[in-house]
Amino acid sequence: MTDASAIRPGIRASLMTPDTRTRRRNAAEARFRLYGRIAIAIGLAALVVLMGSVLANGLGSFRQSFLTLEVHLDEKVLDKSGARDPEAMKKVTTIGYGKIVDAALKATIAAEGIVVEGLTDKDVSDMISKEAAALVRNRVLADPALVGQTVAFKVLANGRIDGYLKGRVTMDSAERDSNVSPRQLELADALVARGILAKSFNAGFITGPDASELRPEAAGMGIAILGSAYMMLVVLFLSLPIGVAASIYLEEFAPKNRFTDLIEVNISNLAAVPSIVFGILGLAIFINFAHLPQSAPVVGGLVLTLMTLPTVIISTRAALRAVPPSIRDAALGIGASKMQAIFHHVLPLAAPGILTGMIIGLAQALGETAPLLLIGMVAFVRDYPGGLFDPATALPVQVYNWTQRADPAFVERASGAIIVLMVFLLAMNMAAIVLRRRFERRW
């Protein structure tokens, strides 16, 4: 027998006092833990700042300033013939309707007895959004019987007035701004005091189409949401079956040789290819070669499918590999064919992993902007897409678009769109977690 004390002399110290070596090891561990905590704290702080700034900027966009006006729909202006023929009435443009709305506001100001020094007619008409005339016109054309009556309308206030109510525009900034005068802001104060001008929930921001540079108050992201939804459908229905089928083949059936190794390496590399490259590929193949329409969700969906496939394939293969081989052996040992073993036993066990990978891929595709810019989804679209082949835009592209515009009111819009995008992403990640919990099985 060897004598232990001969190997490590001096180890007979009391257990109650740690020796220097132990102390040093403990100190190293404590330091390492501290570094970890600091890293997490920095990450969390960045997240809080980001979310805070987005929420602070963007929440305002969900509430908008509206004027409640009693508009007298004058027959002399809107329907000179008196026949209530919608075709004839269409000849009256928004300019005609604009005058009526302006008159309604002027009448309201007079009726309420509001006096603002030096207030011009232009000041009054600029209180109202250019969108208001279109709103009234659409209502009247849809229901010609309204002509001649006095109808209450809730119309959008001008973006600057909305900014004043939200604190973005002040008396000082109005002095220097050619688009808004301090007189208008005084008038706005008076209208707010009388309950004619007030903020309320703005459904148009979520459902409405985008608006031009001059009327940020009317801009919405309905088309962007719809376009993104169409693209996600395309991505889901293409990349899930293609990705899962490819993974099953590669993982379970394909022989292991140089060629399949090459394919594997390339799939991993594809996952790292910058997304804009996929945009160029989509432009070349789907639009220039296959002549699919520009700006269409189908092209966007196809490009995003190409981009998502590597992610789906990699995560599906990982999920398949994680199924214990004993399950495969069990099925094969009873005389199941390879395909039966896979479809009856391996795939159900891999399903949570596959679904999670798919949802992560979808979330990635939902937030992708660069390839969509190249295939024309950055276009200004006013008409709702009726299907996959109609022009549309996408949520992240809409955010990009709005941040490019000069009017500061669009900053709020962009942040609002980011909030909506993040809500969708959060919902998808929650779905991934729920699905994983639901399908998770032990073996």
Binding site: D329, A330, G333, G335, H344
Partner: protein, 265 residues
């Protein structure tokens, strides 16, 4: 030595179920099994013993072509089941495995209900015409595996919720539900406690009435208890094959004697 084996074979009472001649197995460049000749008899328990890595599991997996799933594995020689070469190109391994069932070292029930575990084989092979018949097969298989009384009230509980010994008996029930002719068992008791082992051994003895059972085991006591015939493998060679009693009492090869008496392993 070959002569001795030939005389022994002449004495065999049972009919030959599986006949292996000159079987060689390679894993890539490794020659894992050399020149194995074995006759496995019908309605007999045959035990394969030998130290780890001696090729006994490899040979067992040749008998139902489970080695096909290993890409680098290559099998030479002939193995016949009832006189038909199982490595013939026309043989579908799927059909072969329905006839030659297998129970693995680690209990591996499917993460499904007990009923579905047993019913899976009959379902994929279309052995039953209706639900009542399937129910019958499930019950009969569970009874033969000595598990029926323990699980008859919870057939739809997950099979993975059973204890280790119960899981292994469930796997045996699953294997016999397809009415195989040969049952291969790869160390079926190595993951079980002594009580569960005793139950499974008792079961193996009962199964002999209907099947030819081949069992790989590390425990010589187990081989002595359950088998009628024993084959001793060492370093990829079949050293000795004969009546279990003879192998354990009067081994003819010095290596067998050393192994049985615990000198090599």
């Amino acid at each position: 030595m070959d002569d001795m084996r030939l005389t022994e074979r002449a004495l065999d009472a049972g009919t030959t179920k599986i006949m292996a001649r000159g079987v060689q197995v390679f894993y890539g460049d490794t020659h894992a099994l050399r020149d194995v000749d074995v006759d496995i008899l019908d309605r007999t328990v045959t035990a394969f013993i030998g130290p780890s890595g001696c090729g006994k599991s490899t040979f067992l997996r040749c008998l139902n072509r489970m080695n096909d799933t290993i890409p680098v594995c290559r099998v030479e020689g002939t193995i016949t089941l009832d006189g038909e070469d199982i490595y013939d190109r026309r043989v579908d391994p799927v059909q072969l495995r329905a006839k030659v069932g297998m129970v693995f070292q680690k209990p591996n029930p499917f993460p499904k209900s007990i009923y579905d575990n047993v019913a899976y084989g009959p379902r994929i092979h279309g052995l039953t015409r209706n639900k009542a018949e399937l129910d019958g097969v499930v019950e009969q298989s569970l009874r033969r595996a000595a598990l029926w009384n323990e699980v008859k009230d919870r057939l739809h509980a997950p099979g993975t919720g059973l204890s280790g010994g119960q899981q292994q008996r469930l796997c045996i029930a699953r294997a016999i539900a397809t009415s195989p002719e040969v049952l291969l068992m790869d160390e079926p008791c190595s993951a079980l406690d002594p009580i569960a082992t005793a139950q499974v051994e008792e079961l193996i003895d009962e199964l002999r009435a209907n099947f030819s059972v081949v069992i790989v085991t590390h425990s010589m006591q187990q081989a002595a208890r359950v088998s009628q015939r024993t084959a001793f493998f060492h370093l990829g060679n079949l050293v000795e094959y004969g009546e279990t009693g003879q192998i354990f009492t009067t081994p003819r090869d010095p290596r067998t004697e050393s192994y049985i008496s615990g000198r090599i392993g």
